[in-house]
Amino acid sequence: MDFDEAEDQLVIFLMTSGPSTPQRCATPFYLGSLLAAMDCDVKIFFTMEGVRLLQKGVPEKLTAMEGGKYIHTFMQEAKRSGVELIGCKPALPGYELEPGELIDEVDEVANAGRLADLILSCDKLITF
């Protein structure tokens, strides 16, 4: 696979990991940045505990390893590469979250139907 074959593919990351497993929380953004730089259309859909990464005050203090870069910085770099961040609306009440409590980098808060459409239409689906 090279750049030309990667171009314009829709890649969906289903992010279910959250602050309880910080070691799992940087790679999706790193890999997403790379794929977006290769001209893939990359969207990260946060559901289950993943939505906690979108809560203001959480990614700003969370690192994947001791002394490492904050998850929020990884997110901002992914956004600069063109990655879109989508929060799962039905998952928010389970963590007592309201859409207004999410970080500014979130592009969209969507229902499960949106995720279903993305899954059915994407070229690659990766779960973290």
Partner: protein
């Protein structure tokens, strides 16, 4: 010249955020690389991939991707261009980008609308150096070529 330990060369052209440099070549092409400041932010570069010769790249579509221990992403592109020659050396040894940022170019590109058009909006000469030093001071930019 240097500011806050970051080298900047007046004969080159720079984007407004000093991420990349470009050098005019006699045949109308541009040689493009990453600045000392950019390589310092990226840290030790572990992998570099440059687009193939003949690949068309519109402005804002990257000419290459880089991976370091703490960052992965695009090498920004400011010109509507065609890749003429990727630097094979940096794909074999990406740390050259850290060690010799102004010698280890990323690619030679041909601007689709000519060199003058491509360099419009880029900074060069003393004004580029003065602007770089001002931002380095105000924003605390620092550079290092230590890749240990």
């Amino acid at each position: 010249m240097e500011c806050n330990g970051c080298e900047i060369r007046p004969e080159l052209y720079y984007d407004p955020d000093f991420q990349i440099w470009a050098r005019r070549e006699e045949d109308g092409s541009l040689t493009v690389g990453m600045t000392d400041y950019s390589q310092s932010i990226a840290g030790k570069i572990l992998h570099a991939r440059v687009r193939k010769p003949g690949t068309k790249r519109p402005a804002n579509k990257p000419i290459a991707t880089l991976e370091s221990g703490k960052w992965a992403g695009p090498v920004p592109n400011f010109f509507d261009c065609v890749i003429v020659e990727p630097n094979e050396e940096i794909m074999k040894d990406p740390t050259l980008l850290n060690l010799e940022p102004y010698e280890a170019f990323i690619a030679v590109v041909e601007p689709v609308n000519g060199v003058e058009s491509a360099l419009t909006g880029m900074l060069t000469g003393d004004p580029a150096c003065e602007e770089f030093c001002r931002r380095a001071r105000e924003e605390g930019w620092e550079c290092s070529r230590d890749i240990r």
